[in-house]
């Protein structure tokens, strides 16, 4: 069977120009921010694919494009073999889209405060005109809450419980793929563990596939089967989890792993990384990482490296071995 998600040469531009009149008066050119730049990757069925990166890496944008909240500027996305941009059969697209759900970062903003929990959970079904009798109760129990909670409102729940409700809502659609955008970054550590465990259990029970978007390497290391590292909208390394954490190939990945605080790093003296993430409207020429890269050579400033198979994964670096 083919992979569940196939992303090919994905590009997404945002127009971040000043308003038209200001542009004319101040003689400024149009400003285009390329949030996603020629990204390709596949997600195998029933696996967890993690996208990691710092702010401006385009990880959330990719997630939104895959669930259909944003259209891509260029490139193709096939989910379950269907490309929504080129599929003539509308019914097929609709059926495919039901199977993609999303869990958001902020458990407070992702539930409508005026809706009862039961209605919130049933929305994937009712929004499409279906009946959802008893579904919410069943799902609430499945995510570790009480079926009687259907008549409560979101404000009666803690952050962790709300994220469980979001998970229940995603499950209501009987999804194949769940895009999780920083699902635990708003939660406390002890609660985060509960939610991550629940997600692992549900994945086994329902045969789910996760696209896991996170900036937190420790969570990625715990959850992911495959990890893709993004920098400034470009995929720069992709490898199975063990390979990536044991033997990172790209200098940026190395730096990220080195910079992340370690629980057993008592008194560790880290050589702090050089520089900051560049302005994404004017990205560096060649390899986007070259101004901060400790091993950059002349070629890196002129030519953009493509992803190439090296070892167990793919990496976009001329100097990686």
């Amino acid at each position: 069977m083919s992979d569940l998600v196939e992303v090919k040469n994905l590009v997404r531009d945002f127009d971040v120009s000043a308003p038209w009149l200001n542009r004319v008066l101040e003689r400024k050119p149009k400003a285009i921010l390329q949030a996603v730049s020629n990204v390709s990757f596949n997600i195998a069925r029933n696996s967890v694919y993690a996208l990691v990166g710092e702010s401006g890496s385009g990880k959330s944008t990719i997630g939104k494009i895959i669930v259909g909240l944003l259209p891509p500027t260029a490139g193709t996305i096939k989910i379950d073999g269907i490309d929504p941009a080129h599929e003539p059969d509308k019914a097929k697209i609709a059926a495919m889209q039901v199977g993609i759900q999303m869990i958001f970062q902020d458990p407070y903003a992702s539930l409508n405060p005026r809706w009862k929990v039961g209605d919130i959970i049933a929305e994937p079904v009712t929004a499409r005109g279906g009946k959802a009798d008893g579904l919410a109760q069943k799902l609430l129990e499945q995510v570790g809450l009480s079926g009687a909670d259907v008549n409560k409102y979101p404000h009666e729940f803690s952050g962790g419980q709300r994220q469980r409700i979001c998970i229940a809502r995603a499950l209501a659609a009987e999804p194949k793929l769940i895009v999780c955008d920083e699902p635990t970054s708003a939660l406390d550590v002890s609660v985060q563990a509960q939610v991550l465990n629940l997600m692992s259990d549900l994945r086994e029970e329902f045969g789910l596939t996760y696209l896991f978007i996170s900036h937190d390497l420790t969570i990625v290391q715990h959850m992911a089967d495959t990890v893709g590292v993004l920098y400034l909208g470009r995929l720069i390394e992709e490898a199975p989890r063990e390979a990536l954490f044991a033997d990172p190939k790209h200098p940026y990945t190395k730096m990220l792993l080195e910079a992340a605080p370690k629980l057993d790093g008592f008194g560790r003296e880290v050589e702090p990384p050089k520089g900051e993430i560049p302005d994404p409207i004017h990205p560096p020429t060649g390899c986007a990482y070259h101004p901060r890269c400790p091993i950059a050579v002349d070629r890196c400033t002129k030519e953009r490296p493509e992803m190439e198979q090296k070892g167990k994964g793919r990496v976009a670096c001329f100097l990686a071995v």
Binding site: S190, L196, N197, E242, P261, G265, P273
Partner: protein, 324 residues
């Protein structure tokens, strides 16, 4: 100890509300010595920020200190009135918050903000202050400091802004810096830069730091001692290596076991059941007992023992009884 910079004894903060009087900080005691970093960790609502605000005298009313003492360099500061406390805050205590914009005036160039602070608290001339401002910015790693002193806060990136805040916090040469989640809003690579900077500057000047954060990794790499707070009370206090590798309070044990790193990939995480109670719904006895795996009748009846500074490590009747 003669080089104790900050000493907090039995600090209690109360907030009168409709639901009764809440105690976000309850009989908290801690000490920080010169040049040392004390990490204060806890989950949201544990009272760690409230403790920091009490120390710098910036509690939002109706919250107020209702008991205990705060000593800074041998002088009691919790009884000071507003004006003398303001002088102490600028001169002897520096502050770094999560959002650098709250500490910077958006309408003033950063150079003016630095020189103003120095002129107010140090006995130096204006030209000397400007020289020092440039030096301070260079020290925190702002490239082209001599030109950038004329820039406004919004012209800096988040990481650079936090560097400016650190320069501002340290420019009056305080003996204590209270840093409340200084790197939470920053990316991993920038976080590493800021932490390294804080550590270096304080080691060089012998400044004591109270580092408030929820990130155990940051604590492990930065702090000398760590205070773990739960529901307004001190749960465990001790040298960072001991607390993190051999925790004795069941809460700290659960917390350490529930961090993804501890599971080392693939395995299930250990989880503490439930969530921290709201201050309005604190259980009787030890606040942790409903979630505690080793809770006994005594825990349900009696509040956990209060930790004094320098006492034993964990505020638990049965500390160390559950294996780590």
């Amino acid at each position: 100890m003669t080089d104790t910079v900050l000493k907090v004894v039995n600090l209690t903060v109360k907030i009168p509300t409709r639901q009764g009087v809440l105690r976000p900080v309850d009989k908290l005691s801690l000490e920080i010595a010169k040049g040392k970093i004390l990490g204060v960790v806890g989950e949201s609502g544990a009272g760690k920020s409230m403790t920091g605000n009490a120390v710098i005298g910036l509690l939002d009313p109706p919250a107020h200190i209702s008991g205990g003492e705060i000593w800074l360099n041998g002088k009691r500061i919790d009884t000071l009135t507003r004006e003398p406390m303001r002088a102490v805050r600028g001169k002897q205590i520096g502050m770094v918050f999560q959002d650098p914009l709250t500490s910077l005036n958006p309408l003033l160039p950063i150079g003016d903000q630095l020189t103003e602070t120095m002129l107010e608290h140090l006995d130096i001339s204006a030209s000397e202050a400007e020289k020092r401002a440039i030096a301070a910015l260079e020290e925190v790693g702002i490239p082209g400091a001599a030109e950038r002193i004329k820039s406004y806060p919004h012209e800096f990136s988040g990481g650079m802004r936090q560097r400016v805040v650190i320069a501002l916090a340290l420019c009056a040469e305080p003996s204590l810096v209270v840093a409340d989640e200084p790197t939470t809003a920053l990316d991993v690579s920038v976080q590493a830069q800021i932490i390294a900077l804080l550590k270096r500057l304080c080691a060089e000047r012998g400044t004591a730091i109270m580092l408030i954060t929820h990130d155990m990794g940051v604590i492990a790499e930065t702090a000398d001692d760590v205070a773990v707070m739960y529901a307004g009370r001190m749960a465990e206090l001790g040298p960072v290596r001991d607390v993190l590798t051999r925790p004795t309070h069941p809460y700290t044990q659960g917390l350490m076991a529930s961090t993804p790193l501890a599971a080392k990939g693939g395995k299930r995480l250990n989880q503490i059941p439930g969530a921290m109670p709201r201050l309005t719904e604190l259980p009787a006895g030890c606040a942790f007992h409903p979630r505690c795996p080793i809770a006994k009748d005594k825990c349900r009846a009696d509040p956990a023992p209060t930790l004094g500074a320098g006492d034993g490590r964990a505020a638990c009747w049965f500390a160390g009884e559950a294996g780590p």
